[in-house]
């Protein structure tokens, strides 16, 4: 795997020299992260989604959430053998494909070997189980971050205390201590990235939107891996400048934009033609993925643990579904959405378990939603024809609705 990432970094660096794009920069940095994760010379933490990656970056610990690795392998078209391996071991094919891919990869020796493992109670119990399994598989120490469901002061301080203990835990097991100046610098970088992300998302809201295809694929979920570093700021500035330039030149992400769509939860990670079909045949742009949003306040650099705790609690998939529904409704209005696509990631209890309630919340805004029923990491049961037909019907419904807001 190390060789794979070394080669990929060389290719992407060369490509970026010839044609600098924000997505190219983002892909390069993701690949460099993979390179570091698989390098025996770096300290590694495998985590749950809501781990404070800026804190770990400040310690020089290379880290990612387990689902990121599953998604990466799925996007590379390599998940199949790992999914089968996990199922051979006994993991249910009804469980989350991201987790199964990571578990299968670990069993086949294809996952980075972590120094520590950090589980987060949010967003899902399936993720906790997967992370615990990896801790057992690798025989490495496990830390559990219990993220409370609401941000009462006591809850915030409960989590802030856990974050402090987590730093001690990581230090004890890696020998790497947290330098206060590096922490302060990392928090400044996080705040800078936050400001830049707000600019990017503001630009994405314009009509027509500068966003096309997979420009911001899984962006809100994955970008936190770079928080606390200059890399995050560079990536976000690249997007900001690119979107601003497109808008200045009057170039929409999808030429002749007719429909503005929201994608709920996560995108389908493996290659498929549906998004291109939506863009080409219906001039439909996916202008917003649900998690591409800044839902948290700046971190107080003088008291970072409290701010980091508030951010983790504010994660839209944490706590009551109402938090998520309110955010979805807010984004629908901000992005002037015509319709929503919910992949209903098969195996995700916390996400798809809210399917009916999401539909109801969107109905209140008169926004149609289509539920696809796919495993976003497992292509083996992907029914392209069936999904294409359903999406076509959905687009016809959108097209026949009177008084559509989006026009170009």
């Amino acid at each position: 795997m190390k060789q794979y990432f070394d080669d990929a970094v060389s290719i992407l660096e060369a490509r970026l020299r010839d044609n600098y794009t924000a997505r190219g920069k983002y892909n390069l940095e993701l690949t460099r992260l993979g390179q570091r994760l698989y390098s025996a010379s770096h300290r590694v933490a495998l985590c749950g989604v809501c781990a404070p990656f800026d804190l770990l970056n400040a310690m020089g610990i290379n880290s990612c959430f387990v689902e990121f690795l599953g998604g990466f392998l799925a996007a590379a078209g390599s998940a199949g053998p790992f999914l089968e391996e996990a199922e051979q071991i006994g993991f249910s094919a009804e469980s989350c494909g991201f987790h199964r891919t990571a578990i299968g990869a670990a069993a086949k020796g294809m996952l980075p070997v972590p120094d520590v493992v950090i589980a987060t109670s949010s967003p899902c119990t399936g993720g906790v189980a997967a992370v615990e399994h990896l801790a057992h598989t690798f025989g490495c120490p496990l830390y559990v971050l219990a993220i409370p469901p609401d941000d009462s002061e006591k809850n915030v301080h409960y989590l802030a205390d856990q974050l402090r203990s987590m730093v001690d835990f990581v230090a004890a097991h890696t020998g790497v201590t947290l330098d206060e100046d590096r922490l302060r610098d990392a928090m400044h970088k996080t705040n800078e990235a936050r400001e830049a992300a707000i600019e990017v998302y503001d630009l994405a809201q314009r009509v027509p939107s500068p966003v096309k295809g997979i420009d911001l694929r899984a962006f809100g979920l994955v970008m936190p891996l770079f928080f606390g570093t200059e890399t995050a700021v560079e990536i976000l500035h690249a997007y900001r400048d690119e979107f601003a330039a497109r808008l200045e030149q009057g170039i929409g992400g999808v030429p002749g934009e007719r429909f503005r769509l929201m994608w709920l939860q996560e995108l389908i990670q493996f290659k498929h033609p549906l998004i291109k079909m939506l863009e080409r045949d219906y001039q439909a742009a996916i202008v917003i993925e649900e998690l591409n949003n800044i839902y948290w306040d700046p971190i107080d650099v003088d008291d970072p643990y409290v701010g980091l705790a508030r951010r983790a609690i504010a994660f839209p998939f944490n706590g009551s579904v109402d938090r998520r529904l309110k955010q979805i409704q807010k984004l629908v209005q901000a992005y002037k959405i015509d319709g929503a696509i919910n992949p209903c990631h098969w195996g995700c209890r916390q996400g798809t378990g809210a399917r009916g309630l999401i539909g109801q919340a969107l109905k209140e805004l008169d926004i149609p939603v289509i539920n696809l029923e796919v495993d976003c990491a497992d292509s083996r049961n992907f029914s392209e024809g069936q999904l294409r037909t359903r999406l076509e019907a959905f687009m016809e419904v959108l097209g026949s609705r009177p008084g559509r807001r989006s026009t170009n």
């Binding site: 071991i89 469980s95 989350c96 906790v128 189980a129 009551s320 209890r349 916390q350 378990g353 009916g356």
Partner: protein
Amino acid sequence: MMREKTSYIGFTCAYTPLALIDAASYTPYRILPMGDAPDQAGQILHDNLCPHVKRVLDRALYNDLPELAGVVLLNSCDAMRRLADAWSKVRPHDRVILIDLPLTSDDSAVSYFRRELSQLTDTLFHWSGRPASQEALAAGIERYNHVALLFEALRERLRDGGVSKGAARLQSLYNMAVTRPLDETYLMLTGAMEDLSAPAVGNGGVPIFLFGNVLPDPEAFGLFESCGVRIVDEDLCTGSRVFAPIEMEGAEEILSQLARGILRRPRCARTLLPMQPSAIAEEVLTRATACKARGVIACSAKFCDPYNARIPGVREVLRKAGLPMLHIEGDCTMRSFGQQRTRIEAFTEMLRR
């Protein structure tokens, strides 16, 4: 003391502090995933969600419930979290309180859970209009510990040679104990205890340790026995786990003791021991060995991530110890469970050889 009118509080999870509900003068009523309510919950939640939770929501939608003064739900897993969300939408006039359940049982988690219990105490006593008191809480814990001891005696009998009508009868008693006033439970358990003086009635079946989550239907236990299985011990959230005693130590504040006692009693797979990842596998082995089981049956609800993700590890540890395991996934109905008969018979046959 018999109460004039039973006032029920609904609950769904084995971690629910029943003693606290009792202390507030309510009868805990477990909304078991049973009955004939039509399948509708999948439309609100998702079909690919825990059948336990879906059946509970089906009962709520179909109004297949006694009059409830309120509902106490625990944030124990994704499915339970979504149940709380959905319940508030489909029955907006019900009083529902959701208690967060820590993932671990260390001191920090105990302290956090104590706060959650304190909030629950305030709410329940507010609902009941009675003043909260340490004495009432202590009495509630004592009453439930007494019931726990009675059940332990029955389980011991089951291990030694069988309770009359076996594990199916024990499960019926569990079901009654979580749905009836405690006074009635005492009477039922006392009656069952009288059987202890009768000779053992073991069915000669293969001794099996049963673990998992939700298996409330006594008919399922009858099916086991008809397949040549003798359940000698179990660890189920609809069985012994509900009635594990709360250990009370010294003069520590009572809610702290209750919080610690609940978090540290036999645990659901969703609760972790960070110092010992995947510890559940060793725990199952220990329990199975202690009751001299010749095999283990794991029963889990389909789509239950906490259990289904730990089953492979349990199987591996048992395999190394030479204890065969059969895993049955179900949807909380006998319809799906009955289809497992052939597998259970084959498993029993294999163990007899």
